[in-house]
């Protein structure tokens, strides 16, 4: 499932760096960190919409929730260290 989510996001946002986690280890609650240059200038809601809509089908059954954080590339390096990714 992590691979499927990662691939869907990358397909929707080709310039993105994507890290998907399953913090509760339950296979239905996921966490995604997504960084992309294409987020620049977009309001947060539009950044999230790009990611969330790439998983429309999955949300119907397979995925209960995706906790999402989006970043611009320059914030991403710092964040990766912080999150220990």
């Amino acid at each position: 499932m992590i691979d499927l989510i990662t691939n869907n996001i990358k397909e929707a946002i080709p310039d993105s760096n994507v890290v998907v986690l399953n913090p509760m280890n339950d296979g239905v609650h996921f966490q995604a960190h997504v960084a992309a240059e294409s987020f620049r200038g977009l309001p947060l809601v539009k950044q999230h919409r790009l990611v969330m809509n790439s998983l429309k089908e999955e949300f119907k059954e397979l995925v209960h929730a995706l906790a999402l954080k989006t970043y611009l590339p320059e914030a991403w390096e710092e964040q990766k260290t912080k999150l220990n990714l």
Binding site: M52, K56, K69
Partner: protein, 102 residues
Amino acid sequence: MENDLKERIQGYIDDNQVMLFMKGDKAQPMCGFSAQVVHILNQVGVNYETFNVLADPSIRQGIKEFSDWPTIPQLYIKGEFIGGCDIVTEMFQSGELKQALG
């Protein structure tokens, strides 16, 4: 999407400055993410109305199409789609939510 459904949803949004589409209600949210948004709105101390999508399958599906957003909860402020739990939380922490409500 059918027009009468669209109009119903628009009606809720137009009639309420702060409108939350959620699972369950204020007193008894039926999902952790809906609960978190309720908690934040309570903490901000704003008046808001909720719609329980679990009680109405047509709105439960319709709101996703209406907002172009695949998950519940969904928050509207003054007619504008704000987002789901993550965005509301981020905006609460940064103070933007209070600004949007002001």
